[in-house]
Point group: C2
Chain length 587, copies 2
């Protein structure tokens, strides 16, 4: 297939030169372009394929970038990026110094609001719309495109509740495909399903009840209905809501059928759609699977165990527990706040809830962790996946703040395993009955051990371990970054290495020994230095008036962009070579 039409388009102004009849052909080309590049370069696939027609229609009819378009989450914005000046660099997607996998203000004036986390688009677009209104720009339109999984999140409801009583020029487009990353859940989703089946419900529905000019549902792959309805809405003032039905993965049959896998399929054959099998044989497991397999094993023995995740069922591998224990496993949708307080409620009744949330997303439940869990000292077990640098997802997704913000919370135990066995054992220890909450943070990706399914052992809370004896210099680490040190230390057999394991409570006995024995201490974590684990070591040293020279290594005080984890570690001076270099300078 040639890209006869797509080749003519650099910006939406070029797109607007096409006739309406040419748009289906353009959609075909755009879809093929996305498939071709994602097939080799990887990235998010299904979501962008689902909104190809909608993307074209929006840029065709609205006066972007003057009219302001906000994509919720941004998984689905590849078509948008390609049509707004980034076609030629689209192959650099998610690479270091390449374009971001999500809309990003620095990258283009068409990216009006940076996204990555869900459910922000209505608030952001409403803020823009109110600003325009105050500036007298009454013709300007402000559009939020949001999926049915995202709109069910509390934050989106808060924005709807406000937007419904404003008179701002806001158009909310619900991109209803009944799936987020995993299939959507909840009462609202069931309701939307009914609306789609029985259009009479469209006349008197939840959205109308919230004061919106509701229209739809319409077919999001049909240009005729899309253009007609968008044209009508373009000229209407005030808050409007268009319900569009799309198919995630549209145009690639495998992606339509297996929407979960093709959300982000890795490499695949662009022609056939078949995923190119990876040879994972002999590789250590992913940490998420260590969690998933272990929780199933524990849940078999301990009936009190409950699994909860806010919409990270596949990504956290809690799906394994759902399959065996459907009544004790809860995907509550994109609802971090609710997930945490739900767990707190369960814990009051003697259950043992494991609440699995990615590090970057658990930021959404910070208050609930403090107010509902820690203040009441309820033994909720937080399994914080994707902690540390996450690589290609970039700045919106790195889980680098958790060590700092968790440490500030009284009653909270904070643990980071250095390998799979440690993760497995802390999960085991946690369900044996703690009297307080625990945060267990572990990274995206694979571990380091093949033979990790050892018999369970209790980990004593608040104890570190010595991994290498030494003199003069001791390195204290937290979590899987230990592996970088162990490699670096091959060159330094005389530098001691302690895995502190718990940033809270600190192993004070061990620390007294370390502070007494070593002149220099180096701390290392894959988290922000400001207020993090290293800062806790400084507090201990200050409190006890030790005089050790301390070097704190970790993430600098800046947001880290996208790239491979190795590249990003290097930029922050915590890869193997940087650690070696630093140690040479100290030794």
């Amino acid at each position: 297939m040639t890209n006869a039409l797509l080749d003519t388009i650099k910006f939406p102004s070029d797109l607007r030169k096409l006739t309406k009849d040419q748009l289906p052909k353009l959609a075909e080309e755009l879809r093929a372009f996305i498939i071709d590049i994602v097939a080799t370069k990887q990235g998010h696939l299904g979501a962008s394929l689902g909104v190809v027609e909608l993307t074209i229609a929006l840029h065709y009819l609205f006066d972007t970038p003057k009219d302001l378009l906000v994509w919720d989450v941004g998984h689905q914005a590849y078509g948008h990026k390609i049509l707004t000046g980034r076609k030629d660099v689209f192959h650099t997607n998610r690479q270091l110094d390449g374009i971001s996998g999500f809309p990003k203000r620095d990258e283009s004036e068409y990216d009006t609001f940076g996204v990555g986390h869900s459910s922000t688009s209505i608030s952001a677009a409403l803020g823009m719309a109110i600003a325009s209104s105050l500036k007298g720009e009454t013709e300007k339109q402000h559009i939020a495109v949001i999926g049915d999984a995202s709109i069910a999140s509390g934050m989106a409801f808060e924005a709807l509740n406000h937007a419904g009583v404003s008179d701002a020029n806001l158009l909310i487009i619900l991109n209803d495909n009944a799936i987020g990353i995993d299939p959507s859940v909840g009462a609202l989703k069931e309701y939307l399903t009914k609306v789609k089946a029985d259009r009479s419900l469209a006349q008197n529905n939840i959205i109308k009840a919230l004061n919106f000019d509701y229209s739809g549902p319409i077919d999001g792959h049909n240009f005729k209905s899309l253009l007609r309805e968008l044209k009508r809405l373009k000229n209407k003032k005030g808050p409007k809501f268009l319900h569009v039905i799309t198919t995630k993965g549209k145009g690639l049959s495998q992606a339509e059928k297996d929407q979960v896998t093709y959300h982000s399929p890795g490499q695949f054959d662009a022609k056939t759609g078949e995923i190119i099998p990876k040879n994972n044989e002999g590789l250590p497991p992913k940490y998420q699977d260590v969690f998933g397999e272990t929780i199933v094993e524990l849940a078999r023995r301990n009936k009190k165990i409950i699994g909860i995740t806010p919409a990270m069922l596949s990504g956290s591998s809690l799906k394994m527990m759902l399959e065996e224990f459907p009544k004790r496993t809860f995907d509550v949708g994109i609802a971090e706040q609710h997930a945490v307080t739900l767990a707190a409620g369960m814990a009051t009744q003697g259950m043992i809830p494991f609440c699995n949330i990615y590090s970057t997303f658990i930021q959404r439940a910070y208050d609930q962790i403090i107010h509902d869990v820690a203040l009441q000292n309820l033994p909720v077990i937080f399994c914080i996946d994707r902690a540390g640098l996450v690589g290609e997802d970039g700045a919106t997704h790195h889980g680098v703040f958790d060590l700092a913000y968790m440490r500030a919370i009284p009653n909270m135990i904070v643990f980071a395993p250095r390998n799979e066995v440690e993760l497995r054992n802390i999960l085991y220890t946690s369900q044996m009955g703690l009297n307080q909450p625990i945060a267990i943070r572990y990274p995206r990706g694979r571990g380091v051990l093949i033979d990790w399914k050892k018999p369970f052992e209790i980990i004593e809370i608040g104890t570190g371990v010595c991994l290498q004896e030494g003199k003069d210099i001791a390195i204290l680490s937290m979590g899987t970054i230990e592996n970088n040190i162990t490699k670096a230390l091959e060159e330094f057999p005389n530098i001691a290495h302690y895995d502190m394991r718990f940033s809270k409570p600190l192993d004070e006995k061990l620390l007294h020994t370390v502070c007494t024995k070593f002149k220099q201490i180096v701390t290392l974590e894959e988290g922000v230095k400001k207020g993090g684990f290293g800062s806790g070591i400084l507090e201990f040293i200050g409190e006890h008036d030790y005089k050790n020279k301390v070097t704190v290594l970790g993430i600098q005080d800046h947001f880290v962009e996208h790239g491979t984890i190795d590249e990003l570690q290097k930029m922050n001076g915590i890869d193997v070579n940087s650690i070696k270099k630093k140690l040479r300078s100290l030794a």
Copy 2:
């Protein structure tokens, strides 16, 4: 009036011995009891008066504490406390070592879930209900009582969205009085108002759309309808929703009329209801009013200024701006997440949003601060009121984490004024055009200056000031705790005192001078020590390998209970006398 009936009741089991006909008399006595005590001891009034009948009816019909009752927020739980074993100690409400002003698990088995922040009750009760269901306790009921302001918050919606598809024995009672602390706002509130006016809407409404067995609205002051409906619901399985209409302040005419003032009226005449006037003449202003008056002054000059608060209109004094600039002032309801991202959206369009949220509540928007504001480096101005210890509201409300969790965020400026002039000047400085976000944290209560309305002056970002020269020892402080030091230093004319003002960016030039000149450094903040301002000083000293002895003073690593601010400062070693004592030990 005698308390003939109330005197017979220590626990709900006693209440259940009364006949239904006696309940209105009991309600009268309970109301009078609350009024009598709150009139002299102070506390929250209107909310508890509004639910007297509902409280009695719930404990009369349900088998509490076996049936689990969760009060949202807990402002309204005084009647509940009095009927559940705490009548004799109710006069100690909100005092150090007295009972808490909110339900609290440690205090009573009838307080099934600790509250204080809003909108947690549905999640908590649902968690309990699911736990009961898994334990086979299928007869048990789980009740959440939630107000119309709280149910409009995102977290409550997340819980409704989950509860609607569960089969747990959950009863949600919407206590609809059209007011939170300020009048309720938003599309849902307007909708509920319509439902009340037009009962035909009750047949096909939002709540039913979310799969609930909806009933109501019924009169929440009428025992007959309350008891009848609750009895019916008690025997129904699954998720149920009862819409009850009440009047906040019911039974005290002034409290019914002026619901905002009588939410927490201070001392008043129990007989007449008249508030006992305080003589505030000659007192310094409240910090909230310094904010309120200053933002109005600035908004007159600078059209780009917008004021936003999530339901803290009166408490933040943003109401002053609303009165003069209604189009530029937004109370978005209990919606911290939305408030922050709304502000971010406005900032992208060149507006200057001041987002005023209490310290304890802005925890709810931590992710939005990181992901929507700081990552995009948008110049949103966070005005964080009620920072530090708040006194009688207690553990759920102290704003002691902000210095720690804000410092971890790249791009964020963190400032704390030591007095009114500093607050005024930083507000002025912020609206002159920053290129990044700023968090300005200031306390509850009054300042220290009578003559605070000085001409505006720019504060240079990242600069501290020397308040007293000295030798050997330097104290570095952050915020209004400065006043304690200044008093303490009357005894120590040779100890230096620096108000660092910014915990981020730190005044590094000044710090180099301090570290070079003084042997000992004492840091002081009204915030948690773990990861806070003092920790930042330790990081600086560690980084530059200074060898000063550092003493970090602040809030210990525990949750602080209720009491006067003086009492609580003393418990944490940061009142004037504790500081003196510490300095004597160091000097």
